[in-house]
Each structure stands twice: as C-alpha cells, then as structure tokens.
Amino acid sequence: MPARPTLLKILDAVAILMLGVATYFALVKAPTELVMGQVQRVFYFHIGTAWTALLGFLFASVLSVIYLITKNLKWDRYQVAAIEVSLVFFLITIMLGSIWAYPAWNTWWTWDPRLTTAAITELVYIAYFMLRQGIDDPDRRARFGAVYALLGGISAPITFFAIRLYRTIHPVVIAGTNPKAEGSFSMTPDMLNAMFVALIAFSVIFIDLYWNRIRLGHLQDKVEQLKLKVMM
C-alpha cells in the first residue's frame, strides 16, 4: 500500500485537535442548561454526528448515481466508504439521543416519528452491508449497492424532516419550534458557538475517516484482484 499522503497525516492531526476543541466547547464553554442540567451537553455531539451522517447518506446516493452512469468501480468504493462512516456517526447520534431521552422523557426509547425514522435509516444501511456480502461478483455487487444506496438515501431527508412534518415530542432546536416537544430549550450565544464548533469538528472528522476508509477499500480491491490472479 502506498505511504500515507502528508495531507492525510495533517488531516488526522487536525481531526483529533478539532475533537478536543469541540469537547472543550461542549463541556466547558457552553453554559449548563437550567431545566435539564448537564445532560443537555450531549446535544452538541448528537447534532454534530447527526448532521454529518445524514449528509453522508445523501452524498452516497449522489455517488451511486455517478457509478450507475460511469460503471467505474472507483465510485462504488467511494460510496461504501461514505455509508460506513455515516453509519458509525448515526449510531452515535441514536445512542446519545437515547441517553438524553431518559432524564428528559423518562424513557430510553419511544416510537416517536423522529426516532422511528432514525432507527429505520440505521437498519436500512446495516442491511446494505449484509446484502453486499452475499454477492461475489464485484460488478453485480456494485450495481446492486448503487441502486440500494440510491433508494436508501430517501430515508435521510425523511428522518430530517420528520420533526417538522409530523406530531412529535422530539425538540426542533434549529430553524423552527415544536409546541408538542418535550425537553426543548432556547440556545444562548455560547451554546450556539459550541454547536457550530461541533458541526465543523465532526465534518472534519468525517472527511478524515472517509479518506482513510477509501484507502482501505482500495487495498481490499487490490488484494481481491491479486487473489484471483494467484488462484488462476
């Protein structure tokens, strides 16, 4: 495998640094919310990971369209990487949401429209990896993956707009309010700063992990090709 590019090494360092800065802003700079207390601080990481994950799923849909047009396996590799990193980020989002929900709603989980659509999105992409593993032919696997990711991408906007379209108890903190929401709060300038720092930090971390995952995919393809060559 070729040596790691200098830019990737710098990005690795910046991603770690940004994670530290985001943690500092969330735990130290942002004030304590009066009604919920310290647990409200998980909101910054919750929103940072959710935003990047949903954008990642949409990005994967765009990559699938490019693959279906060009039939170049390189785009399949990019798509798989985007979905895998998004899946991990979205898992963090769901777990953080659940931890916040217990003191706020007195339950770890409820079948609210937002939580349900989020769970469906996560399951759709877990199934994506399980189904991909069942196909041996790389071209068929890529074609199937592209169509699946394209359809799966619809779940991302549905999850995002679920709290704006349906009656839900999930708070709408950004761009809108929800009178039915339980545990909503208004943000002070320091809270807004912490949120934006978290958004930037998780975007940088996403790009860094995405690049590393693409390199891993490239290596996987190389090993697969060499295996076929040696076996023949």
């Binding site: 919920m36 931890i99 290596l219």
Partner: protein
C-alpha cells in the same frame, strides 16, 4: 423565584453519553487500523506467491526440448 425547582443532577448521563461517543469512534478507528494491517499482510503474502509462481513458470519455459529429463521421459515412453 423561590418556587423554582433546582437544576437536576444529570451529570452521570452526560458522562455516559460522551463515553459512548468516544468509545464508538475509537473502536471504528481501531477497526480501520486492524483491517488495513491484515490486508497489508495478505497483500505481501499474495505478492510472494505470485512471484514464486511466475518464477516456476519461467523455469518450465526455459527448459530445453532435449534436456536429460525430457529425453528420459521419451525413452520411457518408447519402451
């Protein structure tokens, strides 16, 4: 103001939340590292196998038609 409830102590949930976020991220980075290390090992092994099979093929091609080995086989065939 005096009727206002005190802010609840939910720091345990906050710690649990951040611990979960860091652990999941760490495990993912570790999985990328381990998969990459295993693939690199596979790649070097396969490259070695590919090289040795190419060398063996070369030896078979270079062997002359009237080499003692082929002559012996021909004689044995005639018998």
């Amino acid at each position: 103001m005096f009727l206002q409830e005190a802010t609840p102590d939910t720091s345990g949930y906050m710690i649990a939340g951040y611990a979960v976020a860091f652990i999941v991220m760490f495990l993912y980075v570790l999985s990328i590292y381990l998969r990459s290390r295993n693939l690199n090992q596979d790649l070097s092994l396969l490259e070695e196998m590919d090289k040795s099979s190419a060398q063996a093929e070369k030896i078979v091609r270079v062997q002359p038609k009237n080499s003692p080995a082929t002559n012996g086989r021909k004689k044995a065939g005639k018998k």
